[in-house]
Symmetry: C2
Subunit: 195 residues, 2 copies
DNA sequence: CGGATGACAGATATTGAAATCTGTCATCCG
DNA sequence: CGGATGACAGATTTCAATATCTGTCATCCG
């Protein structure tokens, strides 16, 4: 059937990711992506209304993939303190690994992320909701003091920005980064527990 | 006496600041600064070994000026919790005001600050030392639990990066920024007090 | 003699013409 | 008929020639 060779949005996204990885955000063109797919660039525009929309979709996909491991941790049973610590450490480790193992690709995504503030805000909300879930578990279990979980979750996210916001990526390779993270975690944990 | 018209480093710095404000970091040249001073650009090089050094000195001066109000708060007597809150709020307010009232000048300083990581690190150390001073007072007064003041101070600084690091300046104009700050402060205060 | 000058070489930035890219659409193909 | 194509116009980027800037230094001036 003809649909065997049908061009799908998914194929385009996957190839776009390859091309971005290879050429970088400044050089990757729609024509490059179409060439890599063996189609004309007009066909790409059948699936995405603009280059910007395509780049946004690539970013979305990337963020989605990066965050599903975290959702699993948030949904686990068990002590909230340990879970929140692991959740934050996993987030930090994932970001740091991406930033250090392939700095060019990471820079590519930093550029893309800078272009789509709306998409990023959604993802921040998703992440904060996961923290909130763990915090609420903690309160229910009596591990944490009873405080409004929404603002507390947001505060935890903001307080740890140094360890997950790409703007601070340059600091992640410092040897003391892990120590700094643990010290901050101790302070936050005390704050969550309260008196 | 001849020294009435003597060209001083201070005059150059002050004029350099004007020229940077007027032309922006990309366009301000040494020749522009010399012209504004009414001297040849060679004379500027008698006081600063390079354009980079001159820009660094301007940045240093700017950071110094921005931070002396904070040193006063750190040195005050009185309750540590209130003092630390005021110190952080003052830092946030000063940054936010600069960012909002004159975005171009702020962008200029963001560029300069990005050029001189060493200078910035020194200033971060100065600021952390001020936090540490307040934290130590708090422990001495029995307001805060007894924890290593160095790491705690650094944690407080990192945790509040969202409200003082220029990388987050775009978020400072959000109406919820003040709320976010107070929520984070509550969490940190609980963490400092401990059980 | 201490300090300012401006000509100069090499590095960096600007500019505008040419090349390429984005996004559209009339046309074609299975 | 649904989907792919590639020619096209206007926007954007590249590139090389040109202009400007940085940093040095022999010279000058009070």
């Amino acid at each position: 059937m003809a649909t065997d060779n049908a061009l799908t949005a998914e194929q385009i996204l996957s190839t776009a990711e390859d091309v971005l990885r290879r050429f970088g955000p400044a050089k990757a063109t729609v024509v490059d992506i179409a060439r890599a797919l063996g189609v004309s660039h007009g066909s790409v525009y059948r699936h995405f209304p603009s280059k910007a929309a395509l780049r946004e979709a690539v970013t979305q996909r990337w963020l989605d993939r990066a965050h599903d491991e975290l959702a699993a941790i948030a949904a686990e049973p068990g002590p909230a303190a340990e879970r929140l610590h692991r959740w934050l450490a996993t987030l930090f480790a994932a970001k740091r690994q991406k930033a250090l193992e392939d700095p060019e690709l990471f820079a590519t995504y930093m550029v893309l992320v800078g272009e789509v503030s709306g998409t990023v805000e959604e993802h921040v909300e998703t992440l904060v909701a996961q923290i909130r879930q763990i915090v609420e578990d903690g309160v229910r279990r009596g591990e944490f003091r009873d405080a409004p979980a929404g603002p507390v979750a947001r505060s935890v996210f903001l307080a740890t920005a140094h360890f997950h916001d790409p703007a601070h990526a340059a600091e992640w390779s410092r040897p003391a980064a892990q120590e700094d993270f643990e010290a901050l975690w101790s302070l936050l944990l005390e704050g969550l527990r309260g008196r």
